[in-house]
Amino acid sequence: MAKANERYTARRLITKWSVYAVLLGLLILVILVDGADDHKVHKGLDMKIASALGAFITLGLYSFLFGENEVYRFLEHLVVGVVAATQFAKSLETGLYTYWIMPFGQGIKSLTGSVWGLHNLWPVVAVLLGVFALVFFRKRLWLAWLLSAACFIGGVLTLEVSRWAIAGRWTPRLLWFLAPVPGAFWYMIYSKRHLWLSRVIAVFVIGAGIGQALKALFSNFVDQALGTFKPLWDPALTSGGFTWRGLLALVGNYVFIIVMLVVLFYFVFTFRFSEHRIGRRSQVGARVFMMIAFGIVFATVVGTRMGLVTDRIYFLVEEWAKPIIRSWF
């Protein structure tokens, strides 16, 4: 029985890899017969490879529409790998480097001078210190806490210390040296014993974000509430400035306020609104208004997705197929 299974697995693998070999052959063939001068951006082999790969990825992923298959799964995993790597690399390059590694390295350089260009290695030393502090002092985490607290206080004092140290010239933050200690707390999510540390750093960032977001939330709320106070009468309608459009706008204001209140009351759960006659009717009204809104939402969702798939068809026809066909004829 085991041998029959092995044969089946081996046969399945051979089938799978031969499908990939055929597809790879087709891809190379497309690149070779592509005699197009350009694929919309510039000439060159790299553009031909990009177009062919793009078409392969698009059509391979679309094969999922007709059922799950090997090519789709291969591409799905490829997509996850590529996207994760690009996001990670870009975040390192433009985030951590710009806001921590570079200022920190320059701060060290302005104090010590460029010692064989090693000032940029200090951040690496700092990261190792963070890992060391947490691993070596894992039984005495109070020491890691002390270092973190020194970092937070140091961040506040840093500007003053730097100015004093370098006689009036502003220098980026020297005490960022200690930042990897709380920074490494994020990775305690993988440790059963110190899992709570990952929550500490998470709630610190969340708490700061909440503090700032509250301001924006309240401001939005006030703005929306004030916007609901619409004019219920237009004097121009009775003083010689009557237009049907003006009347329609006034009716629209009434409709707006009624619809808004009815739908708002639909979500009041503090008391049983639906037990009263008006409450029951308003619930029916609320459902009708929400159905109209959801119908509009469905139509806009259709519009959005059509816009996105139009772009894919545009690529396949205009940027890939047409240049190749034009080069043949």
Partner: protein, 347 residues
Amino acid sequence: MSNGVSGVLHRVFDAIDNLNYRIVYPVLAVLLALPFIVGHWESRPRPRKITRGLFDVIEECAETGKPVLLVNAWRMSSRGENQPQFEVLVDHMMRRKVKFIMISLEPDTAVVGRSLCLDIQRYYQEEYGEDYIQYGRDWLDLDFQLIYQGGYWHIWIPNIKADGLVKSFNTDYEKRPLEQFPIMRRPGAPPPEHPGEPVDLETLSAKDYEEQFLRLGDFGLILEVHFTYTIRDLIGLVRLDKDFAGPDGEPTIEMGLGTVNMVANEMLPYFDSGALCGVLAGVQGAAEYSELLRRKYGEGPSSEGVRLRANPYSLGVLCVLAVIVIGNISTLRKKIREWRQARGEGE
């Protein structure tokens, strides 16, 4: 058995009922590809209020000379909806010589957005001369900024308020210091002491820095092109901040958004309350904006790109409409048949 037209129709609908639903996929793909194969046609959409609002505010910025902060936040995955919007907005701003500063929130569209701006700049330079639009004087690209992972606008806006744009962003996409660009100087600020020489920010006092260089409150419009939005936070943090209010207490900075169709729905309450001056809703919004531009100024570099996408979009939408109608006719037929059978059995 029915004969004639109704019989044919019954047979057609019976066949449709028995079809595998997957047939819809290639039919939709062929319909969307049709305009690219057969040819595109002129379509004249009717611009809505939400589109006209944004158009009017950019026209106002052209009159008052206030710059625009363009937040380029779309992704390549929403290129179909957002790229035409980005193109028409940049086309309008360059055509009317509205100064704008671009910040990108995604690394890939930082490159694409810049390349689109350079293409449109090149078009107008060929049309009206090299001096018509110049990088550094009429527009600037601050490249990709880590707004998302950096804590969103809640963390960035207080920093930008405290430091101004020059000290917050430091360099443009080619790592050139921002203080050297004419666009970063405040409108009405005194010219640099030594023109042509680099400005040393370290020697500048805080008061001089504030007087000479652009601050957030100097913008007339913050315009975001995003696949969803972050502008709701900006409304709370910037537009409703009393620091940016005029002498009459009214906000001086308008907010505009170009987003995908389904998200534009959610932003309608903000347009209604006046927090947003306008919203571009997907390809449709871009087509409407392009129509407004065409009516006032004629065709431009962005018209072709919008037309290429608008025609297949229309066909796709009409295909879904047809499919809904066909599906409901099929249901109605079944209901009538059941009712007739029940009546026949009852009798």
